[in-house]
């Protein structure tokens, strides 16, 4: 039942625009990157503990599932990086107008697409040999 008085605007009263999706993706990728960072740290710590512990951890990273997670982490990192620069530009007052924000949003998506495609190609093109 809706109250008969003015309500403060919330998500549901706004017409959807893709900049909203970009905004929530920034937060989602930020949270996901915490998990990815944990994986990176586990990898480094296992190497610091010696060859045996490294050999125990490496198969998890080079498995198909590990590579999928790694590719997703790369996409999340590059998206969060590009969109973070967009946020920093907003902080100094650049690009706040609606048209500019939409244009920079498209630019971020394009940069993420190209950047992560290059990184993923690089990762998959180089076999992770356990030398």
């Amino acid at each position: 039942m809706m109250a008969e008085r003015p309500l403060s605007p919330f998500l549901t009263v706004h017409r959807w625009a893709y900049t909203m999706t970009l905004s929530i993706l920034h937060r989602a990728t930020g949270v996901a990157l915490i998990a990815a960072l944990l994986g990176l740290v586990i990898w480094l710590i296992s190497a610091s503990f010696g060859a045996d512990s490294y050999a125990a951890v490496l198969p998890a990273l080079t498995s198909v599932a590990g590579k999928v997670v790694m590719c997703l982490a790369v996409i999340a990192l590059i998206y969060h990086f590009c969109n973070g620069l967009r946020h920093l530009a907003w902080d100094i007052g650049w690009g706040f107008e609606r048209s500019a924000a939409r244009r920079s949003g498209k630019l971020v998506l394009l940069a993420t697409l190209i950047g992560s495609a290059l990184c993923i190609y690089w990762i998959l093109a180089h076999p992770a040999g356990a030398a």
């Binding site: 480094l44 060859a51 490294y54 080079t62 990192l77 973070g84 920093l88 902080d91 076999p127 040999g129």
Partner: protein, 59 residues
């Protein structure tokens, strides 16, 4: 007209009391992290393989 209570106005604090500090810490860490992320990506991509000797030599 202000919607803030007189006491809040006198103390000049927001609800969390350290919002401005938190804001600055977030910006400074973000600006510091930006070049470091580029560095990390370049470092990881330049590893010839993920073998134990390569990785420990890199660390």
């Amino acid at each position: 007209m202000s919607l803030r209570a007189p006491l809040a106005q006198a103390l000049n604090h927001g609800a969390a009391h350290d919002g401005v500090h938190h804001w600055w810490v977030q910006r400074v860490s973000a600006i510091a992290l930006a070049p470091l992320v580029i560095w990390l990506i370049c470092q990881l991509l330049s590893l010839p393989d993920a073998g134990y000797l390569t990785v420990t030599a890199w660390i």
